[in-house]
Symmetry: C2
Subunit: 197 residues, 2 copies
Amino acid sequence: MKENATRERIVQAADKLFYERGYEATSFADIADAVTLSRGNFYHHFKTKDAILLAVIALRKANTAAMLDHWAGAAHEPAERIRSFIRILIVNRAQIRLYGCPVGTLCGELAKLGHPAQAEASGLFTLFRDWLRREFVRLGRESDADALAMHVLARSQGIATLASAFHDDRFIDQETAGLSAWLDGLVASQPSPSTHS
Amino acid sequence: MKENATRERIVQAADKLFYERGYEATSFADIADAVTLSRGNFYHHFKTKDAILLAVIALRKANTAAMLDHWAGAAHEPAERIRSFIRILIVNRAQIRLYGCPVGTLCGELAKLGHPAQAEASGLFTLFRDWLRREFVRLGRESDADALAMHVLARSQGIATLASAFHDDRFIDQETAGLSAWLDGLVASQPSPSTHS
DNA sequence: GTCTATACCTGGATAGAC
DNA sequence: GTCTATCCAGGTATAGAC
């Protein structure tokens, strides 16, 4: 049990550091320091750095799935659920301003490294994509639900990238408002959205 | 003169490597190998890695300015010029699919590293932003020209990020079409666009 | 202006005592 | 399960011969 607790502390510290500094720029020593653990002991829990990365991605997937479930529980209407997604940009604006989107920046870094965990990381996007697609289907957009989901994902990624590049979080409010308005227009144009879950 | 030629070859090789592998992941040895130069000789041209980064950013700025001038020369109508910007996503789709946008990914990496050249790098975005803003002003959108410029930039960044994460360039065609349609709608809603340059 | 050689450091990873 | 000590590869940077 104690073993699991230490392992979890390592993964959480790595999650934070990978987000704030990037995967490659984070050393074993950095993570070990963050959880006040010796470098040697570290290898008792994780053999390689790649193993830590996979554990971090798994943690993020679990957290993401829980968040999506929470949103679905908090709102029944598909448009309101999609708005929950858009709102994460605002809720996390302080972090995004500094480090961008955790998913987008990780995927970008792994792509350049040619890292084998690329597919695992983009699976994080897939969680959001599939969830959004389902809500667009419920909105009555069966035919283009996936394209709409990707559109929302892309817009949010662009917002995060520019907010970080310009260190400007007022821009986040501006653009999320535009994205919300786009969604309103979409809903208004739908004659009779299906409301069954 | 020979000195300048070697220097330029170094900067061009670094430009390519920083894009494809990232700044931190690219070593002096990588760049030296690419231009078949000894490591020692390398320092005759650049004292530090940061100096190379600044030279690469300066090169990109010059190339960007030349490209923007070219677009302005090739089309007079503001909407057509803005479409030239949107088209780079399609023209460079093979690269974007693999490595994302050179500007967005560099800014993202430098932000996480807390690198002093962050402002220099985001200046690349500013070149596009100011150029687009001017074209939106010419379209008659003085009041929100900057917001529109940032909107176009954000959309294109999102497209690049997701195309890279999913290694999907069909998505680029899909989303750029949507962005072009948005621009068409904007132009159509303008009663009398100013056409003086 | 170009090379070789090398100093110095950091980071990933292992061995083995406690 | 935790620690210290250590190895080795690779990266930045310098010195100095040619």
